[in-house]
Structure formats: structure tokens, C-alpha cells
């Protein structure tokens, strides 16, 4: 845990303000800010129902916008300030983006308290495939390996 700075509180306040405004604007109660070297590079709010996009969470929108601005698929050295603890989708997206720190306001239990399924999905992801509520099964693994073999052989691939 690092020492919280005045700037950290300012960026978190921005994320919270975005989350409050977004409720008035027909979106979910979530906002996020991505900061690089002390400057805001992108913000995002939850537009799931407004945009018919279940992936349009505040953090995912902020990550996509930040990557567009920085012209990179990695957000190395960036910090994410989000009004609520990221759901597993957003947390994994922050890992793929490689941010250096995550600050959050409300907890996933708070989100649960107003009817969002974050905590349920965390528990589902921890379960073995066969015990999850959405039926999942492996199929044609032998054939699927062809793409991975092509990837392995490709000389000019961009790894991440």
C-alpha cells in the first residue's frame, strides 16, 4: 500500500463525480479515470444499458479510450481510479492493460447491495468449469490447436 497523495484523492473525486453524473445521464453508477504521469488520459462511465453493450463498464471504456489516446495496447505506468472495485471483467482487463495501480471507492459487496452481480461472478470464476452456472464444455481441442501452432511458428508476431 502506497501513501495516498492529494493527487490520488483528486483523481478519485473525479471518478466519483463521473459516477454520480452518469446516473442522471441514464447510465450505471460507475466512473473511472486513467492517469499517466500525473495527467488524466481518459475517463469512462458505465453505458451498458444505454449502448446495449454488456462490456461497456466504466473501466473498460476508460482503458479503451486511454489506449486510443496513447496509441498502445499496454497502459504501463498508468494508474486507474474507479468509483467501485472492478468486477472480474474489468480487473482482468486492467491486468491485460498492465496498469501499475488500481484505486477504488465502493467495494464489490457495496455493488452487490444495490443489485449488481460482481460478487456472484467472482465466485463463479473461482469454480472449476463443471461447477459453474453457465454450462461450459471443451470441444474439438485437437482441431483448435492449429491456430496455436500457427501462432508458435509465426516469426513477426506481436506478443503480449
Amino acid at each position: 500500500m502506497s501513501q495516498i497523495t492529494v493527487a490520488d484523492r483528486r483523481f478519485m473525486r473525479m471518478a466519483i463525480e463521473l459516477s454520480v453524473e452518469n446516473v442522471s445521464n441514464g447510465g450505471g453508477s460507475f466512473g473511472a479515470v486513467i492517469v499517466h504521469e500525473g495527467r488524466v488520459v481518459a475517463t469512462g462511465v458505465n453505458r451498458v444499458t444505454a449502448d446495449n453493450d454488456p462490456t461497456a463498464h466504466a473501466e473498460v471504456n476508460a482503458i479503451r479510450e486511454a489506449c486510443r489516446c496513447l496509441r498502445d495496447f499496454r497502459l504501463t505506468g498508468c494508474k486507474c481510479y474507479t468509483s467501485c472495485e472492478p468486477c472480474p471483467m474489468c480487473l482482468a482487463a486492467l491486468y491485460w492493460a498492465g496498469v501499475s495501480a488500481i484505486f477504488y471507492g465502493n467495494t464489490k459487496e457495496d455493488a452487490d447491495g444495490i443489485g449488481f452481480g460482481d460478487d456472484f461472478i467472482y465466485r463463479e470464476i473461482e469454480k472449476p468449469v463443471l461447477y459453474r452456472s453457465i454450462p461450459m464444455q471443451g470441444l474439438m481441442r485437437d482441431e483448435a490447436g492449429a491456430a496455436f501452432e500457427a501462432w508458435r511458428r509465426k516469426d513477426d508476431k506481436v506478443e503480449y
Copy 2:
């Protein structure tokens, strides 16, 4: 586990073909197909490095496209066929979308074998916040509650 049908194998073959083609097209070795009532409504491939978007995994792209086509933020009754076991971001996105079944070709261990971090992120998500490799900390929870309170009070909200 349900009985695998000829149609299941056909849709999975389509996802695998997309994943193989995508390697030649400068993308990652992943493809996905979303099916509704026996018809393909959307496909997706991994465009992370090509589009500078760490969230542009095959399943996320297919979900976004399917929701656009069906004009819904839920994919109730849809099945997802993906060339590789979904990473936690994509699995959570499939939960948020509410698909009815997921079929996958390669496993997350296979993905690990060609250098993708899916398995690492699964293990990180299972850890308590304080033990994760990306530093995470709560901040200003009292102020963040304002958006949740506004959500609770909103009469015309669209819940999900």
C-alpha cells in the same frame, strides 16, 4: 454437459477457422462465434495489438457485435463457441451478457503454453486484494457511496 450436436461441431469449426485466419491477418490466435436459435449472429477475432485495444479479445468483440445486431444488452438464449477457453475478462463478459452455454477448443493451459497470461490472471483474481501483483487499495468509500445512493433512489433505472 449436453450432448454435442452436428451443429455444435459446425459452429466450433467456424470459430477455429476464424482463429487460424486471424493469425495470418496480424491478430492473435483466437476466434469466437455467437449463435442464437441455430443462427450465427456475430463473430469476433482477437485484435488487441492490431487495434491497440487490450479488451479486443475474440469473445468480447463477438459479444459487442451480437448485442449491436440484437439491440439488447443481454444475450439470453445465445451460445458462444470460442476457439480457446475464455480468459477471466471474457468469461465475466459472457456472464454479464447472460449467454446460455459456452463451448471452447483450446484450454487456458494451452494458451499458457504459447505465452498468453490467461492462467496467471485466473490465479490473481482468486487472491485477496492485498496479495495481487497489481497494487490495489480502497479510497474515499464514504464519498463513492453517493452514486450508489443515487442509483438506489432512481425510479426509472434499467437494472441488469
